[in-house]
């Protein structure tokens, strides 16, 4: 009985394996890292983008000081903008930012935020730890106020 059960189980597991085991090998289907270096990070080209994600009275613009680049520290200057008037917003509180990778469902280490002027802040210790899609999120508590999407090659 054991032998029969075992044989059937192994047969179906092998069958499942071979049916799904037919994708392209990474050894033959890949691109070289140097080929990705020629691509620019998607948002770096314009360097100043305001993203509205939800109905809110705030958005922000980003000017990259370092990066954005993977596996080294990136740094940016952020300016809070009033979307109604498109003018700089005087921030009484230091805003909250974090990094998120939607395709992987994980974030990164907490960033450091220092005030540069009434409406500007320098965000450092920005660690994009791997390639792919990243989101720089402006948050208030648990709520995401606005976000900037990046594609890092």
């Amino acid at each position: 009985m054991h032998r029969s059960l075992f044989s059937r189980m192994i047969f179906f597991i092998c069958l499942g394996f071979f049916v799904s085991f037919c994708g392209p090998s990474p050894l033959t289907h890949h691109i070289r890292e140097s080929e990705t270096q020629t691509k620019m990070p998607q948002e770096k080209v314009s360097n100043k983008i305001c993203t509205f994600s939800v109905s809110t009275s705030e958005c922000f613009t980003i000017k990259w000081i370092k990066g954005p680049k993977i596996k080294v520290e990136s740094q940016f200057l952020v300016e809070l903008i009033d979307p109604q008037t498109a003018k700089a917003l005087q921030a009484t509180e230091v805003p909250e930012f974090d990094l998120w990778m939607p395709s992987m469902d994980h974030g990164s280490a907490p960033v450091t935020i220092e005030r540069a002027s009434d409406s500007e802040f320098i965000v450092s210790r920005v660690y994009f730890i791997m390639r792919g899609d990243w989101v720089v999120r402006l948050k208030k508590g648990n709520q995401v106020i606005s976000q900037l999407n990046l594609e890092l090659p």
Binding site: F17, K71, E73, D105, G107, P110, I129, G132, D133
Partner: protein
């Protein structure tokens, strides 16, 4: 008898001997250090050296790295027989001088005969390693998942005079967590493994193919190992390669070499 001891000792080592890594991060769990040969307790040291060859971002072909990333890891596993059928096991490790996640679990032996072996286990992994949320530098390698994870697994194997064949499966669930005001969602994890082993005297050669999947990632590691049994000690050399087979998705692909030493204690 020694041949059979070698077969069953190494069987569980060969199945899921490849670390089960979260797609971005440090390992979540690896082989449960289950007792399979009647010893009362067992201690296992494993040193492994992994080299990352490919990164596979979402919706992209694998990217062949020109600057490979090396990750050394030292793992300690221990297990203790609680009764004739029930046992407890634990494991922890050091990755690049930083601790990895720590796992505790219990195993239950369903069938144990000269020709068949069936085990099940339940384990829980604690996020004691450094996760992506606690990195000191952008180039640091995370050694833990940052989440509690619970696993349930089973293994069935058939032992022949010439060797063994078998299969094992694990399903897991990573619990949601909150770190630095970031909500980390839950994640499902699973592995399925097929293996075959050939023995000659105190030596055993094993080959296994595994599929590792989470809700975000997919990879197909192939493993080879060579084991040597010397009384109550077993030495195992292993090689695993995640770069050979696809499809792969949303993960890093490594090749790794490891050396394990197992010391078994009999009452």
């Amino acid at each position: 008898m020694s041949m059979r001891l070698l077969v069953v000792s190494v069987l569980l080592l060969s199945f899921r001997s490849l670390t089960y890594a979260a797609s971005c991060c440090g390992s979540n769990v690896s082989t449960p250090a289950l007792i399979t040969t009647g010893e009362t307790s067992k201690v296992q040291f494993t040193y492994s050296q992994s080299r990352r060859y490919f990164e596979v971002p979402d919706n992209s072909l694998p990217i062949l790295l020109e600057n490979k990333v090396d990750v050394p890891k030292l793992t300690l596993k221990a297990s203790q027989q609680l009764s004739s059928e029930l046992q407890a096991f634990a494991q922890t490790g050091l990755v690049d001088k930083t601790s990895s996640d720590t796992e505790f679990g219990v195993g239950h032996e369903l069938i144990f005969s000269d020709t068949f072996q069936t085990m099940t286990w339940l384990s829980h992994s604690f996020p004691t390693g450094s996760s992506v949320y606690s990195l000191k530098k952008a180039s640091d390698v995370p050694t833990g998942s940052g989440q509690h994870s619970t696993f349930i697994g089973g293994q069935i194997s058939r032992i022949f005079a010439w060797g063994d064949v078998g299969t094992s499966a694990t399903a897991g669930y990573s619990w949601p967590n909150k770190i630095h005001n970031q909500k980390i969602p839950s994640q499902s994890l699973s592995t399925l493994s097929l293996g075959i082993g050939f023995n000659r005297g105190p030596l055993r050669f094993g080959l296994q193919q595994e599929v590792q999947a989470t809700s975000k990632s997919l990879s197909w590691p192939l493993g080879l190992n060579l084991s040597y049994l010397n009384q109550n000690k077993i030495w195992v050399m292993s090689y695993s390669d995640e770069t050979l087979f696809g499809p792969v998705r949303n993960t890093n692909l490594n090749r790794s070499f490891s050396l394990s030493f197992i010391h078994r204690v009999f009452k």
